[in-house]
């Protein structure tokens, strides 16, 4: 190898070494928007509200962090249906918890007194992504359904009053 070639090779090596970032690139995939990670739809059929939450692969929802309200007041029937399911998960930090890593289906009858008016109910939920290694803060999605409505999307896509959600959901 000529001196010229040696210097050329050394130059390229030195430049390559200097261009390598100091920190190895090992970033996890970026998290999905919460409405893609956990997509809610609701129907009001035969006197009952049916809620379905799709859970994206590699994500999960905590069963005991669901909250259902009707016209701003607790809705125990839907709440029970939401928190009763899921599967047990031995969490290294929280012990035995119940989580949903598959679609959530919940159902509750609408009280006859409420059947004539549009259903204004909301769902609070909180979950995490195992693939991205993150947790979403609690989110609230609101529905405005009329009897017979099917596969309705939430009427809001923005979390309302994050502070209130935190007070209820994650602050012990």
């Amino acid at each position: 190898m000529t001196a010229f070639a040696r210097f050329g090779a050394l130059t390229v090596l030195a430049a390559a070494a200097l261009c390598v970032p100091a920190v190895p690139v090992a970033a996890p995939p970026p998290p999905l928007p919460v409405d893609e990670a956990f997509a809610l739809r609701a129907s009001w059929i035969d006197g009952s509200v049916q809620l379905r939450v799709e859970v994206a692969p590699g994500h999960y929802l905590y069963a005991d962090r669901f909250e259902a309200t009707w016209a701003g007041k607790p809705w125990p029937a839907l709440q029970r249906s939401l928190t009763a399911g899921g599967k047990p998960k031995q969490d290294p930090h929280f012990g035995l918890v119940r989580v949903y890593d598959a679609p959530v289906e919940a159902k509750a009858r609408v009280a006859p007194a409420d059947a004539q008016s549009p259903a204004a109910f909301s769902i609070v939920f909180q979950g995490c992504s195992e693939v991205a290694g993150i947790c979403y803060p609690p989110a609230e999605r609101k529905f405005a359904l009329t009897a017979g409505g099917r596969d309705q999307l939430p009427s809001n896509r923005e979390t309302q009053s994050l502070k209130d959600l935190f007070r209820k959901q994650v602050s012990q």
């Binding site: 001196a3 010229f4 210097f7 050329g8 050394l10 130059t11 030195a14 430049a15 200097l18 261009c19 390598v20 970032p21 100091a22 920190v23 190895p24 090992a26 970033a27 996890p28 970026p30 998290p31 999905l32 928007p33 919460v34 969490d91 290294p92 930090h93 929280f94 909180q126 995490c128 992504s129 991205a132 290694g133 993150i134 947790c135 979403y136 803060p137 994050l162 502070k163 935190f166 994650v170 602050s171 012990q172």
Partner: protein, 172 residues
């Protein structure tokens, strides 16, 4: 090869390497150019676990890792022992961790004591989950870490787990 030509080659090699290195350095720093959002964080103050208000500027001049976390976030709890180890091992090299808990005091204090956190933990309002959306965390999820150089430039943004090896590479 005569002396003059060799000197010319050496100078050319040096200049090329320096130029490419500078470009690599520029790439590295510009990976997270400082903008208004991070400036807000660096200029902010938070309540410490002792009840005193602490400005982030306290640690100006350090290689600063600001970690947003919460006790209700499993992945956050999982990465923190790495931070404890890194703080212990690299403090002498100017590395400083600061944890901002989006949480209440009681569970924060309990967890911090449990794992023996050896760096300052401050309490952050949930509004910071909105603020971090402009700092490279568009979904406002946790954990989220920002690594600042001693002169306040963002060296790394990490949505999700920040590993010990990556921290070690930064201070090496």
């Amino acid at each position: 090869m005569n002396t003059g030509r060799r000197a010319l080659l050496l100078a050319g090699a040096g200049l090329t390497a320096a130029g490419l290195g500078a470009a690599g350095g520029y790439w590295w720093l510009s990976h997270g150019a400082v903008d208004g959002a991070e400036s807000t964080l660096l200029g902010a103050s938070f309540e410490g676990l002792d009840g005193k208000t602490v400005p982030i500027s306290t640690w100006r001049g350090k290689s600063l890792v600001v970690n947003f976390w919460a006790t209700w976030c499993g992945p956050c709890r999982e990465e923190m022992p790495d931070f404890v180890k890194a703080q212990r091992e690299f403090a002498a090299k100017g590395l400083q961790f600061v944890g901002i808990a989006i949480d209440r005091r009681a569970p924060t204090e309990k967890f911090v004591a449990e794992i023996g956190v050896n760096y300052p933990i401050l309490l952050g309002d949930v509004a910071w989950l909105e603020a971090v959306k402009k700092m490279g965390n568009p979904q406002g999820v946790l954990p989220f870490s920002l690594v600042f150089s001693p002169d306040g430039k963002v060296m790394l943004r990490r949505v999700g787990r920040l590993k010990y090896d990556e921290i070690a590479a930064i201070v090496a």
